[in-house]
Symmetry: C2
Subunit: 346 residues, 2 copies
């Protein structure tokens, strides 16, 4: 399988997700600022993948710091971390990964900058490897929710390309297929960036899992016509009460699923759960450039002088969520006490 | 205002809605088959506009029939009518307009083919003029549902371009603005054909009514954030019980509106109400070429070997509809007896 992101000879290599599936191109980042740009420009996207990229990005930044004194190194490193965390506001994994890198710097600072750099590079790669293991654990727990013959609707791409590999929501689908179940995927195309039409379709095709693309606005039609048995989506950030921020349109799918009594599952690794916030209303929703909506393949579709709004995420209240799949197991409502327990037992 | 469709020297001229707003081009139809093609290829779309086009199309077909005997003329004319009705399956107006043309042929057949042809050409133009008058009547009745300062979400294009002129859903908005109310329009872009992004945005801009384009999947976000006071959409066909078939995604908007307690209004001229069918389940839903979903501006976005489904319409059960706006007045639930009365008193 194509790798989403890799550390190669002190460079970060990412498959360019803006160009898939039409072209398989790679972006090579030689410094942390180009990693930030890659995150902002959607070369790489998906909360877990952004977390890995952020970790690798600050490791790359650390490597280039010329400071023999620990305090000077640390001041510069902290500044890099702050820049990295600010790259995109919604996904919890950016802050989570950078925090983890800072802890490594804390723990090894007594050995001096050069040693810290080595440990940071190691840690970034460890975050990548762990992410894949976490996805596989989510798959093991989550696939029990799916039955042989199920038709699963997903929104956006919460697959190998959104993570270190394997995927969160699509990891659950993969695990069900590996367990011998026949699963068909309906993939919302997911405007404006078309992660569903481009990335989910590409991944599922490559893995031999049947997939059909539909427009976002037809999800209700397929539910109404008995064509959807379950919905599984990923998460960019969840609150302590189980409210979930995810790609714009997730909330629409959740409301439709409830109206049709179809289970709505969220595959959310613990790195996406922000237990420091009480409800989803506190999650910042990124507003992206209107051009992503008004232009297609470089040309305008919306008339000159008419604007667009482009919220990149939305928030689904926990009452719409049937279960949250984590690497520690499947949580069912009420989520609040179970999420609390998850973090205190961790 | 640009004309959607016009009869000019025994030709039918339509603005090419596939190219708006990027280019203002016209398609000239010289025979009925090119009118059918224009309807199928979405040069012209919108139930009332399709009705006008169908009427003009069969008039064009009639003009070209070389038969002096009435029975031969009529056999050929009926064949043309059958072909026209089959052009697209969902909108009620195709069959409605063709039926009206056949009645004119019935009533004038004793005068011979040449006289029938003249009357058919007259009738087609009358249908166009009446359509505009009907839209204005709908606006007069419907605008009372909107208050000064309302933000109105609409889906697809139920405007001047979808009708003879003025519009059904957007006609209600126009009438509210003409009555001095400040109305802002949120326009779902409406994949895959982007009628909202291209046509509704273009029309509203041209009329000086503030309009913002959003992706279809963000309608829920804007409702959740208190940004939508009312929804108004058009209709392609309604059943006797008030179930409404309209552009794919309408059902999604209706379910979201109900979840947010936002009124959901359907602007449906009587020509779109098919009182011969009991419920929306009987309305045929057109399935269009998957290429409309898998390709953008001529290039694939969905990977090779992955298919798409492209239902062009969906059906909204009447329980989601707050009111149906017709040229005879505004109907509120229960719709069934009120629709029956509308047709018996007509």
């Amino acid at each position: 399988m194509v790798k989403t992101i890799a550390w190669r000879e002190n460079q970060v290599v990412m498959i360019d997700q803006r160009k898939l599936p039409m072209k398989e191109r790679y972006v090579v980042c030689k410094d942390y600022r180009s990693v930030i740009r890659a995150i902002q420009d959607l070369v790489i996207r998906g909360a877990p993948a952004i977390g890995v990229a952020a970790a690798m990005g600050v490791a790359l930044g650390a490597l280039k710091i010329r400071a023999s004194r620990t305090d000077r190194f640390r001041a510069r490193f902290d500044a890099i971390c702050r820049e990295m965390v600010a790259a995109r506001p919604t996904a919890a994994n950016l802050a989570w990964a950078v925090e983890r890198m800072k802890q490594v710097a804390d723990q090894t600072s007594h050995r001096g900058p050069e040693e810290v750099k080595l440990r940071l590079v190691e840690e970034a790669q460890k975050i990548l490897e762990e992410d894949i293991a976490i996805n596989r654990a989510m798959g093991r727990h989550g696939h029990r929710l799916l039955k042989d013959g199920n038709r699963v609707l997903t929104h956006c791409n919460a697959g190998a390309l959104a993570t270190g590999g394997y995927g969160t929501a699509l990891g659950v689908v993969r695990a069900a297929v590996e367990a011998g179940k026949r699963i068909e995927v309906l993939s919302d195309e997911t405007r404006p960036f078309l992660q569903g039409a481009r990335l989910t379709a590409w991944e599922m095709k490559a893995s031999g899992i049947p997939v059909t693309v539909i427009t976002d606005n037809s999800a209700g039609y397929f539910m109404q016509n008995g064509r959807v048995d379950a919905v599984i989506v990923g998460a960019d950030r969840s609150a302590a009460n189980g409210d979930v921020a995810n790609k714009i349109g997730t909330y629409m799918v959740a409301v439709l699923a409830k109206a049709h009594k179809i289970p709505f599952y969220v595959a959310a690794p613990m790195s996406t759960i922000d237990a420091s916030i009480k409800t989803g209303r506190e999650i910042p929703i990124e507003q992206r450039d209107e051009k992503e909506v008004t232009h297609l393949r470089g040309g305008r579709t919306v008339p000159d002088g008419v604007g667009a709004e482009n919220p990149a995420f939305d928030m689904t209240p926990h009452r719409y969520v049937s279960a949250i799949i984590t690497e520690k197991g499947v949580l069912t409502p009420p989520f609040k006490p179970k999420i609390r327990r998850l973090f205190t037992s961790a």
